[in-house]
């Protein structure tokens, strides 16, 4: 591998486009059925006050364990789910309150790629028709134009014209994900929210699809919100990363800064839990990562702890953590952390 293959860590190389997507204090609460005698209305706080910005041309990674609200947040960002509170601006327009009709002309600009291509592709339709669907919905052009565009999209994602008339079950997992990506690209979006797009794939196929994401971003100047639980994958694709815990962002920082020196105790524990491959090249120069095994499990988002959501498992928790909820604040080095006692400034 040569030097040019190594992603530039120079801050100047980071995209400095305009803000394409801005989420302000987004919340999504699901009311639960009152159980038995308890009259109190219980609420599951799936997303609880998330604010973030995504700039044109960059990839924002969202990482967290199952149930942390990362998928719900992704759906809120493109308004596939109605927000309980807060607002989302896409390309300068508040999309959180627009009517369905007003939203329709904006939708082509933001698309989703789902985790399970098996479940997100209609088994009774041919691959070509699946990719043509968004073009028909948004009145792309006449039948010939749609056909041309679909063939072009198939080519872009590495499928051949021979695949157009096949049904989803005739494809492998990796190819199915390519169909899902072609469908997302059909309307020429600015923003693609990808929710665990490679987690169902074998490692060798996963690498191929990740490379496709990188190529497409370069070719079409796409902006990605990339949601995943795999910390290696998120590191590979992201310029900046938001770490979520119990519906909140606990840390948001540039990829190098986050992995180099995590500021939030949860980020630190999460990174230390990843079983890294020891191939003899790492031990020489990289610092040996201290392993922090968290005790217990993520609390139920219905009964979130008071104060800091992580305090019940945090090895550094002090009195203040139970009393006051830490806000996500920008530190001197430009990263954002929600912790009373961050590990680095």
């Amino acid at each position: 591998m040569t030097a040019q293959d190594i992603a530039a860590t120079d801050p100047a190389a980071l995209p400095v486009g305009d803000v394409l997507l801005r989420a302000t204090d987004v919340t999504k609460h699901y009311p639960l059925r009152a159980d038995g005698l308890a009259r109190r209305h219980r609420v599951l706080r799936a997303v609880d006050g998330v604010s973030l910005e995504v700039r044109t041309g960059e990839t924002l990674g969202i990482v967290g364990e199952s149930g942390c609200g990362k998928s719900t947040l992704g759906r809120c960002l493109v308004r596939l789910t109605e927000l309980t509170g807060g607002r989302v601006e896409f390309d300068g327009r508040d999309i959180s309150t627009l009517s369905t009709r007003r939203l329709r002309p904006i939708r082509p600009g933001m698309q989703l790629v789902f985790q399970d291509p098996q479940a997100s592709l209609n088994p009774r339709r041919r691959a070509g028709d699946i990719v043509a669907e968004p073009l028909l919905v948004h009145r792309y052009g006449d039948a010939a134009a749609v056909r041309r565009r679909v063939a072009e999209l198939f080519d872009v994602v590495g499928l051949s014209a021979a695949h157009l008339d096949r049904y989803p079950h005739e494809f492998s997992g990796g190819q199915r994900q390519r169909i899902g990506i072609a469908r997302a690209l059909a309307t020429d979006p600015k923003l693609v929210v990808a929710d665990e797009p490679v987690s169902a794939l074998d490692v060798s196929i996963q690498a191929q699809v990740l490379n496709l994401f990188a190529d497409l971003q370069e070719e079409f100047g796409l902006t990605y919100v990339f949601i995943a639980h795999d910390l290696g994958v998120v590191r590979h694709v992201s310029d900046r990363i938001a770490v979520m815990y119990l519906g909140e962002i606990v840390e948001l920082a540039g990829t190098e800064a986050l992995y180099g020196s995590p500021a939030h105790p949860y980020t630190q524990a999460l990174l230390s839990a990843v079983p890294d491959i020891d191939d003899g090249t790492l031990t020489a120069d990289a610092p040996v990562r201290k392993r922090i095994v968290l005790t217990g499990e993520v609390p139920n988002p219905v009964d979130k702890p008071t104060g800091c959501p992580f305090r019940t498992r945090c090895p550094y928790a002090r009195e203040q953590c139970a009393l006051e909820r830490p806000r996500l604040t920008r530190t001197a080095s430009g990263r954002e952390v929600a912790c009373h006692y961050p590990l680095v400034g």
Partner: protein, 342 residues
């Protein structure tokens, strides 16, 4: 007898009779596990890693399945054992943990009842005694407040706790061999770390472990020996350090290189293995990996045998490339990759 392996699988073959004809899923697999060892079996879906372990335990009961070869456990061939004796070994001497703990637990009985049942099936103990042991086991695998949780039903447990309960069940008879099939795949990383610690601890108490996984990181953290499978055959096998620090088979190179890592340099493009994993049923006559291999040559038409290429007799691989040039060849595949990239 330190030299006698606990489990010695020789030339295991598993084939399924399908409408398209006979499909070979495991093709002449040999492996051995020494007492107290952790063997990591790694491979992609369809590589035969799970099926081979199900065959070892004789859990492939479908009449369309044919299993041949030898599975020697403490010198006795499990494949020719009467059902009754096999039942005494399964669960007591060899225990198994599956990927999805919910399918391994019945939802209609309490967790404690299920663990106690397992103990009573293998040992002549009273209900009360079995129950007390269930509590101890749950507490051993790190379930807080085990005395009351023993009466909980599986749905009242979280995913990590269920997997702990299944492991507790597997440990109930102090098995000398534990076969764990992707035990942490469905779990979050922080919980995975806890379960791996638990398996390590159990291993220090004397149980040998066969850990099946697709995650090279997990293998790298826990295994003593590694077996890399591809297309139902062994591609490479050896001590962990040898395999990870000096991998010899091009497929192992691909597996190691294509995983995005949490440390080290960030690559703009990942090295990939071209094509798709070989489908069972379309296994080539020669090397199974040849169709995807960048270093394919005429010799690959012929089936390679697992052999030690250099001084280290414990580190073997099934590849026709000149054994003494592997490190240099690996570098050439990497440069080929970056050419494709640019």
């Amino acid at each position: 007898m330190p030299d006698q392996p606990l489990l010695d699988v020789r030339d295991l073959r598993v084939s399924f009779r399908t409408r398209q004809g006979s499909v070979t899923v495991v093709d002449g697999l040999s492996l051995s596990v020494a007492p107290g060892d952790i063997l990591g079996v790694v491979g992609e879906s369809g590589s035969g890693k799970s099926v081979s372990m199900l065959a070892v335990l004789r859990l492939l009961t479908n009449p369309n399945v044919t299993v041949s070869g030898q599975v020697l456990f403490r010198g006795r061939d499990l494949l020719s054992l009467p059902d009754k004796e096999m039942r005494a070994i399964r669960g007591r001497e060899i225990a198994m943990v599956f990927q999805d703990p919910m399918t391994a637990l019945t939802p209609v009985y309490t967790v404690g009842w299920q663990i106690a049942e397992q103990i009573r099936a293998h040992e002549p103990v009273s209900r009360k005694e079995a129950n007390a042991r269930a509590v101890r086991l749950l507490s051993d695998v790190g379930i807080p407040d085990a005395a009351s949780r023993v009466n909980a039903y599986p749905h009242e447990f979280s995913g990590g706790m269920r997997q702990r309960a299944v492991i507790a069940m597997a440990l109930s008879c102090d098995p000398s061999l534990l076969i764990a099939d992707e035990p942490t795949t469905a779990l979050d990383v922080t919980v995975q770390a806890q379960i791996l610690d638990l398996m390590r601890e159990l291993n220090t108490r004397g149980s040998a472990v066969v850990l099946i996984t697709h995650d090279m990181g997990v293998i790298s953290q826990i295994a003593d020996r590694v077996l890399v499978m591809y297309g139902g055959r062994a591609a490479e096998e050896g001590p962990r350090r040898a395999v990870f620090h000096g991998p010899r088979h091009p497929y192992t190179w691909g597996l190691l290189d294509s995983v995005p890592r949490v440390g080290g340099p960030r690559l703009r493009r990942l090295p990939t293995i071209a094509g798709m994993p070989v489908a069972p049923g379309s296994l080539p006559e020669g090397c199974a990996f040849a169709p995807r291999c960048r270093l394919r040559h005429a010799r690959c038409e012929e089936l390679p045998v697992l052999s030690a290429g250099n001084a280290d007799a414990a580190h073997r691989d099934a590849c026709w490339l000149p054994p003494d040039q592997r490190a240099a060849l690996r570098l050439t595949t990497r440069t080929a990759d970056s050419e494709v990239a640019s």
